[in-house]
Symmetry: C2
Subunit: 503 residues, 2 copies
């Protein structure tokens, strides 16, 4: 790149935010994306590129001169799209899907278009107020106890991800405890979860300077839910060893197998030890707006905080984590800063929420806009129906698996994910090697064989030593025919493995 | 809200991501936003609403039934826009502007539209690879030493905000030091900055469990830059007291007055004490792509990490913080987690970057897309020219202030922000009360008077006991005529104050 620095500026193009140019190019990108969704099944779901592919296609330096949008979009088509894993594809069943929707997209557009930086109320009152209102709407939908609503002294805030939500609540819990036991006690604090708890918990503990994380073992007999008795045992042992139980992350819908920790009984144990309970319902929380699934968070009244990711299964696009706390003042104590340059009358009146003190960062996007648009564009009735449809599709898949003697459903399905595998002993196999390791290896090969075709994409987990394949329904475009076709793909690959005598 | 739960679902509307409905509604929102930019000067820049205004306009619960996009956009117009502070207005001169652009917006649209969750390479190779490439492009533009480029063993990552960037580097620095001095040493660690350092530093220290933050005092004689001698003194005293210097945040372009800490000499002092230096160039870093402003980060080769906010002054829309580190393995050591469900061949090959281990959260948006689009749509030459235009406009404002005997420029202007105030002693005043407090009070009234008209929006700071008004040029739509008109508004209000004998 040439670092010419002519003091005489060349003629400028139009202002970078010229409204008519914005309109022209904006329409082009809308059409580009609409066409992308329309033809998304053309692309292999999991990208087929090799590490380093893009370096070969792009120049070494930023261009000195402007390039037209047409050229850039052509490059998106030829260079970027082949390197994407298509999370919006109806044939995407991996990880937990990140549910997309027109309403969520439009909300993000408006938020990006206004581009307000809503660190405090003053900097854009609507951003703060809409967030508080929508979080109360969601709290009602979930039938969260009053203590989590603003009107009950609690309140909700939109974070980016669960990792951030856990880190913020953990810092609040830590500082409350250190006030009692003294700052030097930080080395004695212990955080609890199960061996199924999301890695966000461990990461948050690391960042917060807490080195002791107990991953209490779960068992297949308990469907990999955290046992209150085992938790009590762990806490007792820690107390006996002079340590200080601090924080428990209970999970409703674990990543590996959507296990549901028994929130109520766990809160009772935690209460005995003065432990802050956070309920991480990142994936399954959304489903709890359906009355028939609400029981999964029964007992949440005993928790101090609760979170779910609206970007996972509530149609809002990444990122949008809803966090509720019973005592916002504890968050504020740990996370607030009040520099002079942000002082303002509204804050000093005490009548407003300044969300910068409820999160890690100072700057924050206007995320409430997308949640509001999703709720209004669809209405609660339809949102419930969409969620139920996903559950129904997963049930359909589960029965197909169960009806094929070569397969087994590894843990009972609770939401819209099915954990299954090829069994070692079953019909149509030539050679039985028998060991768990061999079964795991066979399933690993089956999954990799399927994913490498690009026709569908699933991922795996290992629970209790069992390698299982996760079939997670939730991509917005998925319909019954996609689930049926996915099952056909899986069967085809199983046929090859069985015929080939690989197992 | 009625919790009806009819097991028979009513007829569904179209799929929430139906491509043709996406196209229709997407075009509507593009037109909505284009019209918003076109008529943005109609709106008071600082919102005029009172706390609680929105609760009066919106229902108490989410709607049960869907509402058409036309209704929702009408509500955005009537309920949301009056509650916005218009950061995109050409008459916005508050805080640091968050620069918007068509290219940045389109990049965000594509990123939201693809909605990939790029936690690791595997989950969407293009998201990771484009980020690494674009961060190397930016490193070149800034003439960062080779050690910060991927090819030099370092590398760049896109975070949301500076707060996150500082927290991540601080955690890495902390864990490196605790490896030497033992975990129990956490209580002895000390973090340094000046009394002008952004509150993000203090907040990051709080979250990371480090309770000692030294805000070394600055003086007007040094233009509020951190003095290396004063830093050495603070570190010496701490070491003598048995404490352990850990981390220094040096700022290039402070929030209050765009002061520039002398990076090179500060790094030399820090090196003597084995301290990690982070250079926070959140605001002014972007300007350093212009060769004539690059000297502001001279000495950065002595730092361990460097960050700037592309959403502040690089046209990418919120949020987009560029962070470079010399030793990514230190970030990874503190921030990595490797759960089984994310295991994949690419990671195990060691050939790829998994950015989840470079940041707080696991999930991450495809932010590189917008930075890439900004660089390509404008080209480096124009981007430099846009930045220079903002500096030129600030210079113009500065000369107008300097030519009016009633005002003074409080600290010399370095970038595109002017710090000024009404002087106590000057022409045209009836009553001289003389004290600094009175001068501060007069300027507070002047600023509030101006902002409450909604015609322009500026904010304040207090440095060295002086209340100053900050005139920050940087909103993308601002042209010379807006700066001139802003100066007229300021003069009008000063006239009233002077005539009224208020000072």
């Amino acid at each position: 790149m040439d670092d010419i620095d002519s003091p005489v500026a060349p003629a400028f193009p139009t202002n970078p935010l010229d409204p008519e140019e914005f309109r022209r190019q904006g329409h082009m990108v809308i059409d580009f994306l609409a066409d992308y969704y329309k033809t998304i099944e053309r692309h292999p779901v999991r990208s087929q590129v090799e590490p380093g592919y893009l370096k070969k296609l792009l120049p070494d330096s930023a261009p000195l001169n402007p390039e037209p949008i047409e050229t850039i979009l052509r490059d998106v088509e030829t260079s970027i799209i082949p390197g994407l894993t298509h999370w919006s594809s109806p044939n995407y069943f991996a990880y937990f899907p990140s549910s997309n929707s027109t309403a969520g997209f439009l909300g993000e557009m408006l938020s990006t278009g206004f581009n307000v930086v809503g660190f405090n109320w003053m900097s854009s009152p609507a951003a703060t107020e809409l967030e508080s209102i929508v979080m109360d709407w969601m709290a009602k939908l979930l039938k969260l106890p009053k203590a989590f609503h603003f009107s009950g002294g609690g309140g909700g805030v939109l974070q980016g991800t669960t990792c951030e939500a856990i880190l913020c609540t953990l810092a609040a819990a830590r500082d409350r405890k250190l006030k009692d036991i003294g700052k030097s006690g930080i080395g004695r604090l212990v955080v609890y979860g199960s061996d199924q708890t999301h890695c966000a918990m461990q990461k948050a503990a690391q960042i917060a300077g807490i080195s002791q994380f107990r991953a209490v073992p779960t068992t297949r007999a308990d469907n990999f839910a955290l046992s209150p008795a085992a938790l009590r045992e762990a806490m007792e042992a820690d107390v006996a060893a002079g340590l200080v139980p601090l924080f428990l992350c209970a999970t409703v819908g674990t990543t590996s197998s959507t296990a549901v920790d028994p929130v109520g009984p766990l809160c009772e144990v935690a209460a005995e030890y003065g432990v802050w309970v956070h309920v991480d319902a990142a994936y399954a929380g959304s489903a709890c707006i359906c009355p028939e699934m609400r029981h999964n968070i029964d007992g949440v009244e005993g928790a101090m905080s609760f979170s779910l990711n609206a970007h996972k299964w509530f149609f809002t696009t990444l990122d949008c984590c809803c966090l509720w706390v019973k005592d916002p003042s504890l968050l504020v104590k740990s996370l607030s800063t009040s520099p002079e340059y942000l002082r303002n009358n509204a804050t000093e009146s005490g009548k407003v929420v300044d969300y910068k003190d409820w999160q890690i960062a100072l700057s924050r996007r206007f995320r409430a806009m997308k949640l509001w648009m999703v709720l209004r564009s669809h209405g609660v009735t339809n949102l419930r129906n969409y969620l139920r449809t996903h559950v129904k599709l997963a049930k359909r898949f589960e029965s197909m698996v169960a009806a094929d003697g070569r397969f087994e459903v590894v843990v009972p399905r609770t939401f819209a994910m099915v954990c299954f595998r090829l069994k070692v002993v079953g019909g149509g196999v030539k050679k039985i090697k028998g060991s768990e390791e061999w079964t795991n290896e066979i399933n690993r090969r089956l999954l990799e064989g399927i994913n490498s075709t690009g026709r569908i994409y699933m991922t795996h987990a290992v629970v209790g030593g069992v390698y299982l394949i996760r079939f997670a329904v939730g991509a917005t475009l998925t319909e019954e025919r996609h689930v049926d076709a996915a099952w056909d793909v899986i069967k085809e690959h199983a046929d090859v493995i069985c015929r080939g005598g690989l197992y």
